[in-house]
Chain length 156, copies 2
């Protein structure tokens, strides 16, 4: 298991068709690959988005810390419970049929931080559709587009 001390790391998987699926976007303070404490294989690739400092912990250490330190265990549970909520929200997002609505919801959730390409991958849409949706939303006046590549939800 890993602790991201600084920087940003994305966990991604690739579908058989070759598109990438972002599973988790870790920022400073996040833990990475928690399930690996209990299972033997990694299923994701970790891609650092910025220069990052990562601390690695072997399985035994983590299990020992949980056994000894109940505050650590509780904090761990809290962390994972938060992740579960995040995943549920993500599933909810992907259930939105209309590309425009999905992009809007994604923006509202603050998911557009990196490139539009990454944003599109997270939303499960082609980047062309996302560009188009962003253009439409800008035309509708629901999104601000100050400069090329910059999109921001209007604080209506």
């Amino acid at each position: 298991m890993f602790f991201l001390q600084s920087g940003a790391v994305n966990l991604i998987r690739h579908t058989e068709a070759g598109q990438k699926v972002t599973m988790f976007r870790a920022t400073a303070g996040d833990t990475i690959a928690e399930p690996s404490v209990f299972s033997d294989h990694y299923h994701c690739d970790a891609i650092s988005q910025q220069p990052s400092v990562v601390l690695a912990f072997d399985r035994q250490s983590v299990l020992a810390a949980m056994a000894k330190d109940s505050a650590f265990a509780t904090a761990f549970v809290k962390r994972l419970a938060g992740q579960v909520q995040t995943y549920r929200r993500h599933l909810e997002l992907l259930a939105i049929r209309s590309a425009k609505d999905r992009v809007l919801a994604g923006l509202a959730d603050g998911r557009l931080t990196g490139t539009v390409l990454d944003f599109a991958a997270e939303l499960g849409l082609s980047h062309e559709s996302v560009y188009r949706a962003l253009a439409e939303l800008t035309r509708d006046g629901r999104v601000e587009h100050p400069t090329r590549g910059q999109y921001r939800l209007k604080p209506c």
Copy 2:
């Protein structure tokens, strides 16, 4: 937080458009609404699929048990870590563009246990598309369709 002693309960949410999104399908032995130990609101509706026996635990009891009993805390972490993996797999599934491939992957993951309607909701597809995909897969000889409403992956 709840413990499902017997039966089956689905956690669902509804999108603005009204479609339902299955967040979690709990079967006997699963816990439900773990994040509620740390947060104040439920976001999902729990729908029992069968007559079920559910034990309710208030937040304090769970927090106390985690603090006192490190084995309990560890088991809890393990449970949640498993859920995280399940959600990741689910996201991966939803990233599959082709309905046919998605249905096939869903079958392979053993997600068709209840009705095809529920299966479709889980896959984020219309049930008509799922019926069609199942019919095609049957025609292709990749799926067995012994009787109406029964579909099984061929053990090729």
